[in-house]
């Protein structure tokens, strides 16, 4: 039995407290997932004949693979934009006074406080043919005919980046805040310029935040059904809309289930790459 009975009360937890959440997960997450898997393993829409036909169909169909590829690429682009724009904001946040910090945090959080539908329609107003950008450029005489911004990859990436920005900025702010400000000064007093300090000290030490931010932004961007469909319009198809069409419009539930499972596995693969990178970053310089 327990070698150190005195410490038992400290080290054992009441697992009973986790039961409600576990039940909730079991009923509303694990069970539907299993049902999805079960459905996807049928070759016909009625669900009578077992087989891997749906998966074979997806993996041999250039159109389906194209949708998957463009969705994963979209996630990568949005994540890259968020990282490049979000890092300076987080960096600035750690270096300004408390009043400016409040303002920055408000600006960062503001997107979370408005409905995603409202935000997306705002982008339609900004990017449209007679939208703010085109109107401004035309009145300045920079362009003659309106630019096509809406219903383009550029437009979708831009709108998604704005919508998902807090998911990148908040982990970065936390990670940068954990870095001892004396390290900056120490690096500087040892003769390093600000770029060396950034690449050798600040960036490596903020990597856990970078990884967390990228994982969240990526997962949110590729599954953002509303923004993708409204800004992307009819010509651009991404996995969530593809899935929706198959399930709701075409009532092809087994194929929709297979798409879900494949999408899920693709996302898991990307996230585990991030996680592995994160684990490596924690042992950074350990050799």
């Amino acid at each position: 039995m327990g070698a150190a009975p005195a410490s038992r009360d400290v080290t054992t937890y009441g697992m009973g407290l986790a039961v409600p959440l576990a039940l909730f997960f079991l009923v509303f997450f694990v069970a539907p997932l299993l049902q999805l898997l079960w459905l996807s393993l049928h070759n016909d829409t009625a669900g009578l004949h077992w087989g891997l036909g749906q998966y074979l169909h997806f993996l041999t169909d250039p159109f389906s693979l194209g949708v998957l590829g463009s969705t994963l690429l979209l996630g990568a682009e949005v994540t890259a934009v968020c990282l490049v724009l979000g890092f300076p904001i987080a960096w600035l946040y750690q270096r300004v006074g408390p009043r400016l910090q409040t303002i920055i945090i408000l600006i960062v959080l503001l997107p979370l406080l408005t409905s995603v539908v409202v935000r997306t329609f705002a982008w339609i107003v900004i990017l449209g043919r007679q939208g703010i950008i085109n109107a401004t450029l035309q009145s300045l005489g920079i362009i003659d005919t309106p630019l096509k911004l809406l219903y383009t990859q550029f437009g979708v990436v831009l709108a998604l980046a704005q919508v998902q920005m807090p998911l990148m900025t908040l982990p970065l702010i936390t990670a940068l805040g954990r870095i001892d400000p004396n390290l900056d000064d120490a690096s500087c007093s040892l003769g390093a310029g600000s770029w060396r300090t950034f690449f050798r000290i600040v960036l490596p030490l903020s990597l856990p935040g970078v990884i967390a931010g990228c994982t969240l932004t990526y997962a949110a961007a590729i599954t953002a059904f509303i923004t993708q469909s409204l800004i992307g319009g009819g010509q651009m198809l991404f996995m969530p809309m593809y899935l929706y069409q198959q399930a709701s419009t075409l009532q092809n539930w087994p194929f929709a289930s297979a798409i879900s499972i494949i999408f899920l596995l693709a996302v898991l693969a990307v996230v585990s790459v991030f996680t592995t990178l994160g684990r490596m970053s924690r042992g950074y310089g350990g050799a």
Partner: protein, 364 residues
């Protein structure tokens, strides 16, 4: 020897700094430090020590005054071009870099090649007696070892000035003594002009060639440890450095070298006007250290009643209540069998010598 004495002189010339918040952190500080000296900046928390250190290092641009290192006015140089080594209170080692990478960091910033860097890092780790730790991470080292690494890292860039901010505050007592000796040894070997910030007067007196005492951003006194301890120039220095009895009184007569003071405790004594000339009839505070008071016989000195006696090893400290109701401490060396004083015994006290009683104009 590879580290030939490289200490450059350091002049702090009329430096004043006011933070944007309006706080006046240091006010008109003048220090003239010779190459190779160890200086202690001593003062209570919040008196502006760190601010002055950061001004010298270049992290803060002072509101007024100049910093001169060697022959150069460095006010326009950023910290990374001042060649000032700093050891931070929390060591500030880079947690993701190995010990040897930490030590070699400043050399890498100078573009020195990897082989030379590693050789130099190893040499410095041997200097601070940690040759076997090169591959470890900072968190795998004890506090004292981390501090040695921080020292090695600062010394690696061959700084002309070494600054240490409360370097021993986080160490326990035995380790602190070891590190104080270590720093003093390294300073001797390298000959680097060194400035140690501390609020610990024993540390300042034992380590420094000269001590600068600060209070509320002002320089109170800058002198040798014995100057500061035995010939304090202000009431603050006398009370902050070492312990002292403060006895109020009135000046009966005074010249430049001696003053006759009538203590409120009921006796006339001769004291040294420590902070400049005293006016006859003015109120003064006379400071006498516990070890500079003695029990006297007859009708000389002032009277008191013994309260408690504390035997503290080599000395015995007696608490004596004087006629005006204030308490004074008397410290007696324990020679042979010192006669125990009973609680309530009536005694008379006097300073050992007039030069050991310092009179300062009383502040309101």
């Amino acid at each position: 020897m590879a580290d030939a004495p490289s200490g450059r002189s350091l002049v702090v010339d009329a430096v004043t700094h006011r933070y944007p918040s309006g706080a006046l952190a240091v006010e008109n500080i003048n220090l003239d430090i010779k190459g190779g000296e160890i200086i202690a900046l001593l003062g209570p928390s919040g008196c502006g020590k760190t601010t002055l250190l950061r001004i010298i290092a270049g992290f803060i641009a002072q509101t007024q005054g100049r910093i001169i290192i060697g022959d150069d006015i460095v006010d326009t140089l950023p910290p990374n071009r001042r060649a000032v080594g700093i050891v931070f209170q929390n060591y500030a080692l880079f947690p993701h870099l190995s010990i040897s990478e930490n030590v070699a960091y400043g050399l890498a910033a100078r573009g020195i090649d990897k082989a030379t860097r590693q050789r130099e890092a190893q040499r410095l780790l041997e200097l601070v007696q940690l040759p076997a730790m090169a591959e470890r991470l900072p968190r795998q080292l004890s506090g004292g070892q981390q501090q040695r690494v921080a020292l090695a890292r600062a010394l690696a860039i061959k700084p002309s000035i070494l600054l240490l901010d409360e370097p021993f505050a986080a160490l326990d007592k035995n380790l602190r003594l070891d590190m104080q000796i270590e720093v003093k040894r390294l300073q001797r070997v390298s000959g680097i002009t060194t400035l140690i910030v501390t609020h610990d007067q024993e540390e300042a007196l034992s380590m420094a060639d000269r001590v600068a005492v600060l209070s509320h951003g002002k320089l109170e006194q800058f002198g040798s440890p014995s100057d500061v301890y035995d010939r304090p120039q202000t009431l603050f220095v006398n009370t902050f450095v070492g312990s002292t009895n403060r006895m109020p009184g009135v000046v009966v007569s005074a010249d430049r070298t001696a003053a006759k003071v009538r203590l409120d405790a009921g006796a006339e004594i001769i004291a040294r006007p420590a902070g400049g000339a005293l006016a006859e009839g003015g109120r003064v505070t006379v400071c006498i250290r516990p070890e500079h008071l003695q029990f006297v016989g007859g009708e000389t000195g002032f009277a008191g009643v013994v309260g408690m006696s504390l035997p503290l090893g080599a000395t015995v400290v007696h608490e004596v209540t004087t006629a005006d109701g204030s308490g004074v401490k008397v410290s007696q060396a324990r020679i042979g069998e010192t006669r125990a004083l009973e609680n309530g015994a009536a005694v008379r006290l006097a300073p050992l010598a007039p030069s050991l009683a310092n009179a300062f104009p009383a502040t309101l």
